[in-house]
Amino acid sequence: MRLIPKQIETLWTLFTAPVVWAAHFLVCYIGAAVYCAKPELVGLSFNAVRAGIAAVTVIALSLIALSAWLAWRQWGFGTDDPPHDDPTRRDRTLFQGLATLLLSGLSFIAVIFTAMPALFLTECIR
């Protein structure tokens, strides 16, 4: 079994990082909202919620880093320069690789920003 997926040509890889960002956002916000509305139902301390957010953040960042690495590979490890606008299969692949890499960078920062409140908020009401 391969650890790193082999290179395939599909548009889905382009969305991987933003999808991870969206999922991370929903897990953090819905999780905190459910916990703060019904803490007795969940039965955890707020610090456990913060630890949970830290854990999903590490997982999300790892997935995005993996997506970025795959994109970097698809982009030929930066050996070719943009704009990749020739009507060829090669340029299409390189363009998609670069776009995926940039989206991964954006999603990486966004995931950090989403998780930052958990560093500072120590309980539901403050």
């Binding site: 920003f113 930052m116 560093l119 500072f120 908020l121 403050r126």
Partner: protein, 325 residues
């Protein structure tokens, strides 16, 4: 006519220094101090980034037009376009988040010795003081609070969504029908501030305001004690006219038979800074105009016009109300 009233209200507000007393950038409270600090830090951070970007743009367009090598151009884009803004935004966000726990409206509310319950109504504010000792004190359209002491405000609405805001003292908080929201404020400087309704609530939304008076604690306590005692003297001619013309079916005046609960409590209207929910100076003329044609001053208000009353009666009622201090 309506314009005349709004103009006179505006000139009154300017003349009384209200224009200065409504700015969030001249804080007179702990929360507002932090919000003003946040504003200046965000502004400085944003200005620094803007100056950096525009400076680089001008530099490359006007002064240094030689082409850069691809490698150094990429480096500039990476550091100037990606790393610098990301780190800067991260620092600004961290600062804002770090401020949040202290700014949350519930913060330290339990340590408050005084609770004030405020109910938003179209288009005025019902105010009930609940001191830790003694009976509740009812007022309207004016909030007084002691300097240096934390006050807990419980905010409600009787009709539509309003929003409570005293910019020089702290952040705003919505008043939502069926909910009780809490806000905790601590004034640090004495003064008279203006609080607007900060959520559109109907025709006279822009004319729904109140005065917030931060007083020295001793002065506040004696004021509150005085408010608990009826100011109205029985047998005054204004009092009899007030009741005879039906004003008491909507307004409450302590010490009289006026027990209405629909309009603002007028028990101590003479001691308030403004009348008409923060829009008119507290003068006999302003009160008389409001009684005669309230819809000109406050379109959409529930109070009917009383311009059919003899002018002498309006004058007598007005003089009596002004005396309720």
């Amino acid at each position: 006519m309506g314009q005349y009233f709004s103009l006179s209200a505006a000139s009154f507000l300017l003349a009384s220094g209200y224009a200065r007393a409504r700015s969030a950038l001249e804080p007179a409270g702990e929360e507002a101090q932090q919000i003003a600090g946040l504003f200046w830090v965000m502004l400085s951070g944003g200005a620094l980034m803007w100056l950096g970007v525009v400076g680089l743009l001008l530099h490359s367009a006007l002064f240094n037009r030689r082409r850069l090598a691809e490698k150094s151009a990429s480096r500039i884009i990476l550091w100037g376009g990606v790393v610098f803004p990301s780190v800067m935004l991260c620092v600004l966000l961290a600062y804002a988040l770090w401020l949040m726990p202290g700014l949350r409206p519930f913060a330290q509310a339990s340590s408050a010795a005084l609770r004030i319950e405020i109910t938003g109504r179209q288009f005025w504010w019902e105010v009930v003081y609940h001191p830790s000792q003694g009976p509740p004190v009812v007022s309207a359209n004016e909030i007084r609070l002691p300097v240096g002491e934390r006050v807990e405000l419980t905010l409600k609405s009787a009709d539509v969504i309003h929003s409570f805001w005293i910019p020089p003292l702290g952040g705003k908080m919505d008043m939502i029908p069926g909910r009780t929201n809490r806000l905790s404020l601590k004034a640090t400087k004495p003064g008279v501030f203006r609080g607007p309704c900060a959520e559109y609530c109907g025709t006279s939304h822009a004319l729904m305001a109140f005065s917030a008076v931060a007083m020295e604690p001793e002065a506040f306590r004696s004021w509150l004690a005085a408010q608990a005692i009826p100011a109205a003297s029985a047998g005054a001619s204004g009092s009899a006219l007030f009741l005879r013309h039906g004003c008491g079916s909507c307004h409450f005046v302590a010490g009289t038979d006026a027990r209405g609960m629909i309009g603002p409590d007028l028990s101590h209207i003479g001691s308030r800074v403004t009348v008409g929910a923060g829009i008119l100076p507290n003068t006999e003329d302003a009160i008389a105009r409001f009684i005669a044609r309230p819809e000109l001053i406050k379109p959409g208000s529930s109070m009917p016009a009383f311009d059919m009353l003899p002018p002498d009666d309006i004058r007598a009622i007005t003089a009596w109300l002004r005396g309720l201090r």
